[in-house]
Subunit: 550 residues, 2 copies
């Protein structure tokens, strides 16, 4: 009898493919890689974040999930772990030390208190969960303790890179494990699943350590306080800032709850080296002169609730921007955030700070491989098949082109979508069905009850607002009171007497001339109001009516 097929399914987040969660399944036994969240696009109004739609997994009672493996501790890879644990409380979690610590924080912050089995592994461990053998290997990225996985399956060795760059001079930890990748290559890689984030950028991503000279210049020139804004998880950037603080005899203040938690964890497990006498409690800042201080803050993406935005808008509880502050945005705007980031920068300038961002100085580098590194990854692993992952379609296609140029057969380049099922057997790899589902919006306390209809309604409300009229009619359908009007986001009604009169007249006239319309009355009234409002304003608010027969 033929062996069963191996099934691989990237499970959807949003625009990026195979980013947040991936399933490997063989003969009803499975492992999962990552459980991350995505942040909503600007037109997904009111959505807090998006989680992968793994509902089909909860319905597969036949399936035995042997473990969930995490590549690294960024939100887009661990952010949905609490949702996963809710659904699969018994599945053991496998992670490196820092990642495990961040997962514990995430679970604690989300009030997941049940006993979760977290198993810590190291690169080069070998974890056997039949029929899978999982070999984590060290990669460089913008957070320590990142791995990719070599997964030996009954249908060959799959290499999943996770997020990576080839950083030969990383600020923390070892350089890339070229030997391991080459060894995989010699064993024979059936399928390479590789990070495509920067597939449209030529060359090689600069090393994390190339930003040190820019930081040094900033510290050498700053006369007042220095504020460095970056991601809470960018441990190496915090390390670099601490190093500079020491060199320039400043005290380092960590601001913001998340960043404090991250630094605490990283110090506990020895992943960051900040001497006790460099760190300073925010409460004690006032006893130090400005040029003796450096603050690490969050909010480099312009997030309204983070420290930097609050400083920019003057809404921080205990701190404010001072004339003479130097503020470094050690980050690059994620597409969609540009407007908020630049607005924050302008506001900080307005408050008298000198703001340094990545187009002015190299105060940030990407954590992802560029084209030459992708070619190197392919050259080391020499895969039979490649499935570009971690990127929008445009990135996957570009990565696929690079692979073909590097000798992968064009028919063996697999451009998938989230939900696409790959079937692997001895004959090859095929894209087959697409599982239903997509992604799940989280908004407030609810998971998944905000669907396309609510989002579309929010879009319409955002554009033109709404108008509702309520009117009492008698048994004959004749209005017996002045219509009451409720409207927001349409026009400022208090200044629109003429329009108000027109609306009221329309209500009364429409009801008078449709007294026998009965069940259709409401619809007729709303249609005629919509028409009148469009004629008067060229806008299309949502229109509602309540006809109250008394």
């Amino acid at each position: 009898m033929a062996k069963p097929k191996l099934r691989i399914i990237p499970i959807g987040g949003s625009g990026e493919i195979g980013k947040n969660m991936t399933l490997f399944e063989y003969d009803n036994r499975a492992i999962v890689i990552d459980a991350g969240i995505m942040f909503p696009a600007n037109d997904m109004h009111g959505v807090d974040y998006i989680i992968p739609d793994f509902q089909f997994l909860t319905q597969r009672k036949d399936l035995h999930i042997l473990g969930i493996f995490f590549t690294h501790g960024h939100e887009d890879h661990i952010g949905a772990v609490n949702h996963f644990v809710d659904a699969f409380p018994k599945v053991p979690i496998y992670a490196t030390r820092l990642t495990a610590g961040l997962i514990e924080i995430k679970l604690r912050n989300n009030s997941v208190h049940q006993d979760v089995d977290i198993k810590i592994f190291k690169p080069n461990d070998k974890i056997v969960l039949q029929p899978f053998t999982i070999e984590p290997f060290h990669v460089c990225h913008s957070i320590p303790d990142c791995v990719g996985f070599g997964i030996t399956t009954p249908h060959g060795l799959i290499v999943h890179t996770g997020d990576y760059k080839f950083d030969n001079t990383p600020v923390y930890g070892a350089p890339p494990d070229y030997a391991k990748l080459a060894e995989f290559g010699q064993r024979g890689v059936r399928l390479l699943m590789a990070d495509s984030t920067n597939a449209d950028r030529a060359g090689w991503t600069p090393s994390e350590s190339t930003i040190e000279p820019a930081f040094d210049r900033v510290f050498a020139n700053a006369k007042g306080r220095i504020l460095v804004a970056t991601f809470a998880s960018l441990i190496s950037r915090i390390q670099l800032t601490a190093k500079m603080a020491q060199k320039y005899n400043r005290r380092l203040v960590i601001s913001g709850h998340t960043m404090k938690e991250y630094v605490k964890l990283a110090r506990e497990i020895g992943y960051i080296d900040i001497p006790e006498d460099v760190l300073l409690d925010p409460a004690k800042m006032s006893s130090f002169e400005p040029h003796k201080l450096v603050l690490m803050v969050t909010g480099s993406q312009g997030e309204p609730s983070a420290v930097l935005s609050k400083l920019a808008t003057g809404k921080h509880r205990s701190m404010e921007v001072q004339r003479g502050d130097t503020i470094v945005l050690s980050s690059h705007p994620i597409p969609g955030n540009e407007e908020m980031v630049y607005r924050t920068i302008n506001k900080l300038f307005e408050r008298g700070a000198n703001v340094i961002y990545d187009s002015l100085e190299r105060v940030h580098v990407s954590g992802h491989a560029c084209q030459e590194e992708m070619r190197l990854m392919i050259g080391l692993t020499r895969p039979e098949y490649i499935m570009p992952v971690h990127g929008e379609l445009r990135h996957l296609i570009q990565h696929g082109k690079l692979a073909m140029e590097s000798g992968v057969q064009p028919t063996n380049v697999i451009i998938g979508e989230n939900g696409t099922v790959l079937e692997v057997d001895k004959y090859g790899i095929q894209k087959t069905e697409r599982i239903p589902g997509g992604y799940i919006f989280v908004d407030g306390s609810s998971v998944g009850d905000i669907g396309k209809i609510v989002i579309r309604d929010r879009e319409i409300l955002a554009r033109d607002g709404f108008l509702l009229v309520a009117v009492n009619v008698n048994r004959q359908g004749q209005p017996v009171s002045e219509p009451e009007i409720v409207s927001r986001g349409f026009v400022y009604l208090r200044d629109s007497d003429d329009l108000l009169t027109t609306i009221k007249n329309t209500v009364i006239e429409t009801l008078r001339s449709n007294r026998n319309a009965n069940g259709k009355r409401r619809e007729i009234l709303e249609d005629s109001l919509s028409r009148v409002l469009y004629n008067e304003t060229k806008r299309r608010p949502m229109v509602f009516s309540i006809i109250n027969e008394i």
Copy 2:
């Protein structure tokens, strides 16, 4: 008696300063430069565009506006001309030939039919409108017929660059007029007002002609149709495409109403050279094989109503993307548009096109000067004062730093805001008052009736929607009917039976226990509903109630 002061006022558009309109006023006589529009930020929901707030001008009955001068024909410089003409029908318009043509189109499309006095000037003309002498000079930018102005006033020579780059090998028209700028410098420039758009970019903006090799590669390699997307006004890009069409023996189809209008005008006045036998009527496309066609389309910023977006979403009336199409986005996303642009690119890939955009090939260059060019501008004109304009605050500050490095006195670098009044006299230039007003939203047919309140309401509606309850009560304030509920953008109520029950119970209980609250009843009911909804969903929809006493 001392001479009156010269007053200079940049009049607001939005985030950029001194971009859309500037007033020069002396002794109740004034000239205006430009009347452009700005496009709304992503959180200015439903706003079509923004015009400068020149209301204070209409109130200045004492002021004699001698003329309005246009630097070039882009929307952010001419887009509000119809609004200006509405307010000041008698003020003569001064523009170069192409700009004048584009203004005529704009007025015609906005049904401005009165006789408007448009006077066409050429670079190096000298226009005397006492006490001002205006000397337009040729600059390079991304549309032909661009000028800056030397304005001789009773308090010295002001040089306003308009949008510019120093392009030594432009695709259309003359290289920059260095001699004129140097001559101004020798005469003595009191104040330089200069374009700051790229002030945070090092180096020198590549020449428009540097994109020809990339276009040539695209044309040499494309096997099917080629579509080139760019701004309708980017005449030189259309010229380049036409040249390539000729070279590679393809017929050129211009698609989209605006682009057709622009090409027609540019051909009429001889600013673009496309032989008749290269142009092809869109209706005749079907008789040509794909590799014999190249189409110019609009929509390179992801604008939903433009040709490219419609092709990407399959909503174009008569065309669709074909497998094998090569689509060139000859543009760079304007900040805030990235998400829409990349979404469009992904969708075009999804439909089987090969999409080439500026991170893959140099198919676009900026039309604005970078830092070295700014230094050169300062070096040529050697101004006593500089006011960086055309940019966000971060750009102005950077430009100001460059000026100081180039020898302008730090106290003579003026960082203004829209509405800031500069007063110039023989002693110097001072920032004085700030005129009230800001910018005016245009939404549908209304100009300016959408203010901050409506936009803020749209923001709240976009995030969490609204919920309205209407209930009939008797004379004793007791509910006598089931409350009626209208809600959109909050939750999908049809799937939320429990929540509906909770809402109805809250209405009934709140009214029962507040029967004597009279005037406060509505407020109490809305507060208690808001509280319940937040507890149940962690969301804050707008809540309204209608209590109908019957």
